[in-house]
Structure formats: C-alpha cells, structure tokens
C-alpha cells in the first residue's frame, strides 16, 4: 500500500513582506576623519627618522672606511725575535772617523735546569773538567738540592760550548745574548767606561753602561727609535793611541805615579784625545778599590776627576785679565822685588829674577811675585768673576758619567792672600780638563768654548766673549816666548810653534801642609801659537828625573819634554802642516791670523 505523503502545508508566502517588529539597527556609524595635516606631519617625522638612521649608518661606514684608508698598512705579525730592523739592543760607539770603539758580538751563556738532568753528579764532574774554576762538590750539591735553575757561565767560547754539548746532558742549556766588546782594548778606557749585564733572561740580556760615555748615554744607546745608529765621539783613535803611548813612556821615564793628557780643538771644544794613566781595559773593568785612596786606582780618570793645584799655568789667565781690563800692557814694568809679604804669608819666586820685570817677562820667567801684584790690582771680585766665566768654579759639562762629581776646590772666603795665590795657581784645584777649557777659551781669539766628547756636526757658533782677540793674540805671543826663551824651552818642535806655560805645584799632604818632594807638574799650551788649532795639557803626578846633574821635579824638565814629543807625534796625525818659515813668529802674524779667522 502506498502511503501518500501528506502534502506539506506552507505556512506563509515567503515573499510576503514582513513588517519587522523590531526595527533594524541603523549601521550608519559616523567615523570621525583625522586631521590630514596631522597625518602628514607624522609621516614626515617617520621619514625623517628613517633618513637620519640611514645617514648615521652610512656615515659610520664612511668614517670607518676613511680611517682604514688613512692609517698605514701594517703587516699582521710577521717577523720573529730577530727582525731585520732591530739588529742589536745597543748601538755602537765610534770615533770621529767612524772607527769602532765599542760594539756588540753574540755570545753564549750556559745555564742548568737540574730537573732535566739525567745524571747530575757526572754533569758536575764534566763541567769541572771544562771550566777549571768550577768545583765538583759545590755543583754536585747544588744540582741535587732540588733547585730548578742555575746560571753557570755568562759567556762561553764556541769550543767550551762544544765540550758541554759533548757531555750529552739535557739539563745543561745555552742562552743567546749579546756581549759588549771594546776591540781596541785599553784604548780610551776611561772615556768609554765599560758595561755589564742588567736584567737577564735565557733568550737575551740587557747591557747597561757602568761608567764614562757608556753610562752617560745609556738610554740614548739603547733607544730602539734610533735603529742602532752609532754614537760618534770626537776622539780620534790614532791620536789617542799616540797620546797614550807617549804618556806611558814619559811616565816611565819620569818615574811618575800617574799622568793625564788632554788635547782639545781650540775653537769647537771637541776633545780629540784624552788619556789618564794608569788605565784599565773596559772589556774587563776592575772592581772599584776597597782600600787606598781612590785617586790611585786605575779606574780614576785624572784628566776629568782629578782636581789638583796646577800651579803657574794659571798665570796667563791673570795676565790676560789684566790686559783685558787695561791695567797693564805687555811692556808694563812690574815690581818683582821679594819676598812679597801679606799678613803672615810671604810669596817667593823660584829664583831671584831682579827687582823689576815687564809683564811679558813675568810670564816668561814665571814670577809669582809679579803675578800676585797684578792680581792685587785686579781685585778679588773681578778675579772671581773672570775665573767663573771660564768655568773654573763648577764641574765640567763634558759627557762623562764621572764629570758632574768632579767639583773644583775653591776657597769659601776670598781674602787678598787667596787672590794672590790663586793668581799663580795655588789655593784652587781644578782638573786638567778645566784648564784645557780655560786655555782654549782665552787663546782661541777670546770666546768661551764648552768641552765636549761628541763630534760636532757643522760649524760651531763662537761662545760669549771672554777677552778681546788682541788680548788673546798677546797672551799667545807671551806663551810662545815662554817656549823660545823661558821655562818651557824643551817644548820647541820645529815647524809647530808651540806656546805654553809650565806649572809645578807641591802636592798637599792629607795631614795638612804640602809635601816637599812630591809635585804635580803641568804643561799647558797651544799650537801653532800664531794660528791656534789645538790646546794641549799634560799633567804628571809625582815625576822626578835625574837630569843635568841633579834630581829635577819642575815641569820644565818633566812635563814639557813629554808635551813636546806629544805634539811632534800628534800634530802630523791631525793633518797640521809644519811651517818652517821664521816669519810666522812675529807678533804681526799673531794679529793677522786672528783677524783672518774671525
């Protein structure tokens, strides 16, 4: 049976419009529009911000590129310990011609690490065989004591190194280092001074100067910025050799205790040669003396450190001042009748030279009385300021570590008796170098020179004027006459017109007073006198020689022959051509030569 579906009854017509009972919500929401000006300005702000960010970013990049481009390119970490530029830690020292005075060589040091040793006992035995000064028991004890490290030898030879290698002991090791060497041995030992090791390591050791130029220029020599450029001294090796030889033989001949010599360029103050005997080898500098007077040690530099009463060599300074002040001229007659009494002192001459002498003859005969009278005319104050202007009151500015310690001995008070004695070189103690500087300043035409050990580059400005060039010429002429007809007649060398003054002073005894039989004999001079080139000072300590029938201690018999031999040897080496023309000894020549020079 088929059931029929009931037809669905559709309720209502869907298309019938229905009246909504609930009113539909109105969707017309009013969105308030923003202010276009505001929007614009905000966008602008954002854009600006972005721009600034970009500009900053690019600026940083640009700056970085700029700095990279501007800086020097640097190799990233090339080269090892031994680079190409830094050859040695300490620069060489050369003489004025570039001849080596001090240099470095590589050396080998020996050290031990007992922990690495296989057999410490046999190692110590083997070492004792190679190095005789090492004691077996001592080192056996040390190697087995548990210490980690020992320095054995600071510097061993290649043969010794091979012998140590042959021991086959891994605990014995070698370190590389540099060693300071003075190839000329004793030559210029006092000037160079010497060096020792400072901080040391197994790979390298620092070299430090002990004395002399080495100590004075310690920082300068080891300055890496100078890339090992050598230090050039004003010393000339050949002249220095001749000086030391002549002084040594002269010292032996005169049986003197010591000798000192200074040769100085009269215009520049360069010290061409300076020697002090006895000397030492800077390669093995002796230990400072623990007993005796330090002045007798070979380490003592008599030319710089030794301050002595040098005697009559001072007279020319007094005379030059009186000429400069116009108190006298070379012909003025001075009363030399003696003895000259001043308080409880009386001043005598070596011989009686008569009652009156001209100023020239006061120098030629070396009259103490005449010089003292002239000094009284000058007066203490002017004398002091003159000697001060010559640098005789302070230590020399020469470039040696010892120089600042060598103060001249000057009286604290300056009564008339000091004025008188100092006028002929007693009562004031200066070094030979002081004297050479003073002589150079007075005799080179009258301008002050500063002593130096460094070779000067280029011409030197003349220093402040001390005396006029005419006074300088007159002083030189007087000194020349000392040699031709005075106390220094043995100084004459054909061709080189030496002018100079002798000085003999009794040595002060430490107990007070003066020794009778111990003198300091000095010759100070200039050559050639009419056209001064070099100043020479020779000082002998306690000389004596049997000559012409009696024992002589005066400088005329001791220091003068040595100085003359020195000039004979040294002047040709300095390239000075001898002039045998007798016309050069006239006073007119002195004036014209000086005029031509200035």
């Amino acid at each position: 049976m088929i059931r029929r579906r009931r037809a669905r009854v559709l309720a209502t017509d869907p298309f019938v419009p229905v009246n909504p009972t609930v009113p539909r919500p109105q969707t017309t929401v009013v969105v308030p529009r923003e202010n276009p000006e505001k929007v614009r300005s905000r966008a602008e702000r954002r854009l600006k911000f972005t721009t600034v960010c970009f500009v900053l970013g690019f600026a940083v990049i640009g700056l970085k590129m700029g700095t990279i481009a501007a800086t020097d390119a640097r190799e990233p970490a090339t080269g090892g310990l031994a680079g190409a530029d830094i050859v040695s830690a300490r620069a060489d020292i050369t003489d004025r011609e570039g001849r080596v005075l001090a240099t470095n060589v590589t050396a080998t040091a020996l050290y031990a690490q007992p922990r690495l040793m296989i057999n410490p006992l046999t190692a110590a035995e083997g070492l004792a065989q190679i190095f005789p000064d090492m004691e077996v028991e001592v080192w056996q004890k040390r190697f087995t004591s548990g210490s980690k490290f020992y320095w054995l030898k600071g510097n061993i030879s290649p043969e010794q190194q091979q012998a140590v290698h042959d021991l086959g002991e891994p605990g014995l090791l070698f370190g590389q280092r540099e060693m300071r060497v003075y190839p000329n041995g004793q030559l210029a030992g006092h000037i160079l001074g010497g060096a020792r090791y400072g901080q040391q390591d197994v790979r390298a050791a620092e070299i430090k100067g002990v004395a002399g130029v080495e100590a004075e220029f310690d920082d300068y020599l080891s300055d890496p910025a100078r890339e090992g450029a050598p230090l050039r001294l004003s010393i000339d090796v050949s002249v220095q050799t001749a000086m030391e030889r002549v002084l040594a033989s002269g010292m032996r001949l005169m049986s003197a205790k010591g000798a000192a010599g200074v040769l100085m360029d009269v215009n520049t103050g360069e010290i061409v040669s300076m020697a002090s005997l006895p000397d030492f080898d800077p390669n093995s500098r002796p230990a400072p003396p623990t007993e005796g007077t330090p002045g007798d040690s070979p380490l003592f530099n008599r030319a710089v450190q030794g301050v002595y009463e040098l005697g009559s060599v001072f007279k020319i300074l007094t005379i030059a001042q009186s000429l400069e002040l116009g108190l006298t001229n070379s012909g003025t007659i001075i009363d030399t009748s003696g003895p000259l009494r001043q308080g409880r002192f009386s001043i005598r001459d070596f011989d009686d030279y008569g009652d009156r002498l001209s100023v020239t003859d006061v120098i030629v005969k070396s009259s103490n009385i005449g010089t003292a009278r002239i000094a009284l005319e000058i007066g203490a104050e002017r004398q002091q300021s003159f000697l001060k202007s010559l640098g005789l009151f302070e230590s020399t500015p020469v470039e040696l570590a010892e120089a600042p310690g060598a103060h001249p001995l000057v009286p604290a008070r300056w009564p008339d008796i000091s004025t008188m004695t100092i006028s002929y070189g007693h009562g004031i103690s200066v070094s030979p170098l002081h004297l050479a500087t003073a002589y150079a300043s007075v005799l080179n035409g009258g301008t002050r020179v500063q002593p130096t050990l460094l070779a000067r580059e280029g011409p030197v400005e003349p220093g402040p004027r001390i005396v006029s060039s005419r006074v300088s010429a007159e002083a030189r002429n007087m000194l020349r006459q000392v040699v031709t007809r005075g106390t220094a007649s043995l100084a004459e060398v054909e061709g080189y017109q030496i002018g100079g003054k002798t000085g003999t002073a009794d040595k002060p005894s430490p107990a007070g007073g003066y020794y009778d039989d111990k003198t300091i004999s000095t010759f100070a001079g200039v050559f050639p006198a009419q056209d001064p080139k070099y100043v020479i000072v020779v000082t002998l300590d306690e000389p004596s020689i049997e000559a012409a029938g009696q024992l002589r201690r005066t400088a005329g018999w001791t220091a003068v022959p040595i100085a003359s031999e020195l000039v004979r040897r040294v002047a040709p080496l300095l390239g000075l051509r001898p002039d045998f023309d007798p016309g050069v000894d006239t006073f007119g020549e002195y004036l014209t030569q000086t005029a031509a020079q200035r």
Binding site: P76, A84, V87, R99, V100, P183, N184, T241, A571, P578
Partner: protein, 153 residues
C-alpha cells in the same frame, strides 16, 4: 629568468669564495716568506756586526804597530813625523820618457829580462813605475805565520 639569476649569483659567490681563500693562502705564504727574509736579514746583520767587530779588532792600533815592527824590513814604516810633509814639486815623479827614441815593442823578452835587469841595477833603488811594472814579482820572505795563516803580532 629568475632561476638563471639565482644560478648566476650562487656561482659568483662560489667563485668569490675560492678567490678569497686563494688570496688568504697566498697572503699567508707571503707572510711566511717575509718572515723568513727578515730572519735572514737579521742573521746577516748579526754576521755583519760580528765582522765589523772582527775588523776593528784586527785593526786595533796595538796590533798594527806590532805588525809594522815585524815587517819593518819590507815595509819600513815609521810613525808620521813633521818632516814627512813635502811640497808637490819635491815628489820624485818618474822621468819623462825620451821622445826621440822609438819605444821598443813590448815583447815577452822584456819580462824575461826582469831578473837580469834587477841584477844589473844592483843596489840602486829604482822607484820608477817602469821597473815596478816590468820586474818579476819578488817573493818577500814572509814572517812566521800562525796556523790559520794570520800574521800574529
């Protein structure tokens, strides 16, 4: 098109990477070279300073003096003295060659004559350059030498 672009850029990156690595290795090799050279230069400098020290040591005035004394017979060196200076017209120049005579042609005989010439001249010290050039090299009896051939003072 896009694939091509990608492929191209990837290959460029690869090529650049190879190039950069290559440059890096080359740089390191060069650096090693430079370091080696610097070490060599340093060692040479060290040798040079050693040789300088040796030169200075061998030329020290003491040794030269002793050598001059040892060889005085042949060299006749004495210290320089003031009378060693002379004027230029005091120098003994060789006499001018005679112009008229034709100069004999240089023959080996001249050389062979060297010894005979020396004997003929005898004691006369001839200092002309001709004698010096023609003479046979003379053997100067050497002073005693050390093991290594150095003249020991």
């Amino acid at each position: 098109m896009r694939i091509l672009l990608y492929a191209l850029s990837v290959s460029v990156v690869v090529i650049l990477a190879f190039w950069a690595y290559g440059e890096g290795y080359e740089t390191r090799a060069t650096e090693r070279d430079v370091a080696r050279l610097e070490r060599t230069i340093g060692a040479r400098h060290q040798e040079l300073s050693m040789l300088r020290a040796e030169w200075a040591y061998l030329n020290r005035p003491d040794r030269l003096q002793e050598l001059a004394e040892m060889n005085f017979e042949t060299l006749g060196l004495i210290p320089l003295a003031p009378d060693h200076f002379a004027l230029a017209d005091q120098v003994g120049y060789p006499p001018p060659a005679p112009l008229a005579l034709p100069t004999p042609p240089a023959s080996p005989q001249v050389w062979a004559e060297g010894e005979a010439l020396e004997q003929k001249i005898g004691d006369v010290i001839v200092m002309t350059y001709r004698f010096g050039a023609d003479a046979k090299p003379r053997v100067i009896s050497p002073p005693t030498l050390a093991d290594d051939g150095e003249q020991l003072p």
